[in-house]
C-alpha cells in the first residue's frame, strides 16, 4: 500500500510538472503511455527489452562468477592478493566509458565486445566484496569442519557458502544496478538494437515521448526483477537469522 501511494505521488508530480514545462519538454503520462502501447503492439518494445535483458544476464553472470572466484582466491591466498591488488584498484577507478570505447576499438562493434565491456565494469566490485567476505570467514567453524573431517564439497556448501552469501547478495545487488546503467551506454555507442540504441534514436530525433516510453519500460522491468527475484532470494538466504524487532 505505501508503495502504491509513493507511485501515485510520482505520477502526480510528473503530470503537474508537464503542465508547467509544456508538452514539448515533458509530455504528460497519457502521451507516453500511448507511445508505449504502440511500441508494444508492433513488438519493437519487447524485442529491444529482450535483447537488453539477454546482455544484462550474460554480462552479470560472467562478472559475478569470475569476480566471486577471484575475490575468494584473493581473500584466502596472500600472494594472490598482493598480485591482484594493483589491477583491482586500476579497474575500480577506470571510467566505464573508457572500457566500452576501448573494447569496441579492439574487438570491433561486436556482441562479444559489448558484453565483455559490461562485465569488466562490474567485475572489480564483485572481487572486492567477495574478498572482504572471505577475509571475514570464521576460523572457529573452519576448525570444526577440519576436526570432524567434513569432505571439501560439504564444507564449502554448508560452512563457507552460507558465510559468503550476504556478501554475494550485496555484490549481486550493487552489481546489478551497475550493469543496468552501463548496458545502455554500451548499446548507445555500438549496438544496432536494445533499449540503449532506441534511446539514442529518440535522442537524435528529439522524440521525448519515445525516449520516456523506452526508459520507463526499462525501469519497470528492473523494478520487477528486483522485487520478484532479488528480494525473495535475499530473504531466503537470511531466514535463519533471528528477526529484528
Amino acid at each position: 500500500m505505501p508503495r502504491l501511494l509513493s507511485f501515485a505521488v510520482l505520477l502526480a508530480t510528473w503530470w503537474i510538472g508537464s503542465l508547467f514545462a509544456g508538452d514539448a519538454k515533458l509530455p504528460p503520462p497519457p502521451t507516453v503511455l500511448t507511445v508505449m502501447i504502440a511500441e508494444a503492439r508492433s513488438g519493437d518494445l519487447f524485442f529491444h527489452l529482450g535483447v537488453t535483458l539477454a546482455r544484462v544476464t550474460l554480462a552479470f553472470t560472467l562478472a559475478m562468477s569470475l569476480g566471486a572466484a577471484i575475490g575468494y582466491l584473493m581473500g584466502r591466498v596472500r600472494l594472490a592478493d598482493r598480485l591482484g591488488d594493483p589491477w583491482l584498484i586500476l579497474l575500480l577507478n577506470l571510467p566505464a566509458l573508457v572500457v566500452i570505447v576501448l573494447a569496441y576499438i579492439w574487438a570491433g562493434l561486436t556482441e562479444v565486445a559489448a558484453i565483455a565491456a559490461i562485465a569488466i565494469n562490474k567485475l572489480p566490485t564483485a572481487v572486492v566484496t567477495l574478498r572482504e567476505g572471505t577475509r571475514a570467514l570464521e576460523a572457529a567453524l573452519d576448525e570444526m569442519a577440519t576436526v570432524f573431517a567434513l569432505p571439501r564439497w560439504k564444507k564449502f556448501r554448508h560452512v563457507i557458502l552460507p558465510q559468503l552469501s550476504p556478501y554475494i547478495a550485496a555484490a549481486a545487488r550493487s552489481g546489478l544496478s551497475l550493469v543496468w546503467k552501463i548496458v545502455l551506454v554500451a548499446e548507445l555507442l555500438g549496438r544496432p538494437n536494445g533499449i540503449g540504441f532506441e534511446i539514442g534514436v529518440a535522442f537524435q530525433l528529439f522524440d521525448i515521448p519515445l525516449l520516456l516510453a523506452y526508459s520507463l519500460s526499462f525501469a519497470a522491468v528492473v523494478l520487477l526483477i528486483e522485487t520478484l527475484l532479488v528480494q525473495p532470494f535475499e530473504a531466503r538466504l537470511s531466514r535463519w537469522r533471528p528477526r529484528a524487532a
Partner: protein, 242 residues
C-alpha cells in the same frame, strides 16, 4: 588403540612480538575406554593443548600419536554450531552414516527431540552445548575431546548435563579427554586426572581413580577432592618463566 602425548614445549608470539610459553612439558598416555581429565586453572593452556591433540595446531615441540585415521569428536567450549543449519542438520551433516535408532536415542538422552528444527540462534547455551555433544557422539568417535562442556551453566543444569555425559560415555570404548577447571566434575567423570600447573602448563600429578564411575560414593569423591586441593595448593605455582 592408544593416545600417546609428549609435548615438550609450545610457545606462541603475541601481536607485539613477545614470546609466550604455553606448555612446558606434558606427557601422558590414554587407552581406549579411559576418560582422562585435564584439570587446571583458567588460562593454563588447556585449550591450546586440545587443539594440538586434535591435529589443528602442528606448531609445537614434541610428539602426539593418535590412532591413525581415528574419528575425532570435539565438543568445543563455545559450541561452534552452524547458525544457518537446524539442530538436526548440524548433527547429521558431520554424521551422514549415523544409524537412525542410535541417533534418535542420542537426541532422546540429550533432550533435543523438541528442538530438532530450531536454529542455533534460538537456543540457550545449555541447549547449544547439548547439540554440540550430540554432534560429537553421533559420529561414534574413537577419540572424544570435551573442552569445558559444563562451563557457564547454572549448577542444576550442569549437574544434569554431567549425568547425561556420563551416561553417553558409559559402555563405549572411546579414548576420552575432558578439560575442566572444576574439580568436582573432574572427579565424577574421570578415570585418570592430570593436574596441571598454571602457565606454562606442566603435569603436577597423574591420579588414577580405581572405582568405576557409577560406584563412586559421596565420601570417596570428597576424599579425592580433598587430596587434589591439597596437591594444588601445596605446590607453589611456577611463575618464573615470564
Amino acid at each position: 588403540m592408544r593416545l600417546e602425548v609428549d609435548i615438550a614445549s609450545k610457545t606462541f608470539k603475541s601481536a607485539a612480538g613477545e614470546q609466550h610459553d604455553v606448555i612446558a612439558g606434558v606427557a601422558f598416555t590414554l587407552d581406549a575406554g579411559e576418560v582422562g581429565v585435564l584439570v587446571g586453572p583458567s588460562g593454563c593452556g588447556k585449550s591450546t593443548m586440545l587443539r594440538i591433540l586434535a591435529g589443528l595446531d602442528h606448531d609445537f615441540q614434541g610428539r602426539v600419536s593418535r590412532p591413525a585415521g581415528a574419528r575425532i569428536g570435539f565438543v568445543f567450549q563455545e559450541p561452534r554450531l552452524l547458525p544457518w543449519r537446524s539442530v538436526e542438520e548440524n548433527v547429521r551433516l558431520v554424521a551422514p552414516l549415523a544409524n537412525e535408532a542410535k541417533l534418535s536415542a542420542l537426541f532422546e538422552i540429550l533432550e533435543l527431540k523438541a528442538h530438532l528444527n530450531h536454529f542455533p540462534g534460538e537456543l540457550s547455551l545449555g541447549l547449544a552445548r547439548r547439540v554440540a555433544l550430540a554432534r560429537a557422539f553421533a559420529i561414534e568417535p574413537e577419540f572424544l575431546i570435551l573442552d569445558e562442556p559444563l562451563a557457564s551453566l547454572d549448577v542444576a543444569l550442569a549437574a544434569r548435563l554431567r549425568d547425561e555425559i556420563a551416561m553417553l560415555m558409559g559402555g563405549r570404548s572411546v579414548i576420552t579427554l575432558l578439560v575442566t577447571h572444576d574439580v568436582d566434575d573432574a572427579v565424577r567423570l574421570g578415570d585418570r586426572l592430570f593436574l596441571l600447573s598454571p602457565r606454562p602448563a606442566q603435569i603436577l600429578a597423574d591420579l588414577p581413580i580405581r572405582t568405576p564411575r557409577g560406584e563412586r560414593g559421596d565420601a570417596e569423591i570428597a576424599a579425592i577432592k580433598l587430596d587434589i586441593m591439597r596437591r594444588i595448593n601445596g605446590t607453589p605455582a611456577k611463575r618464573d618463566a615470564s
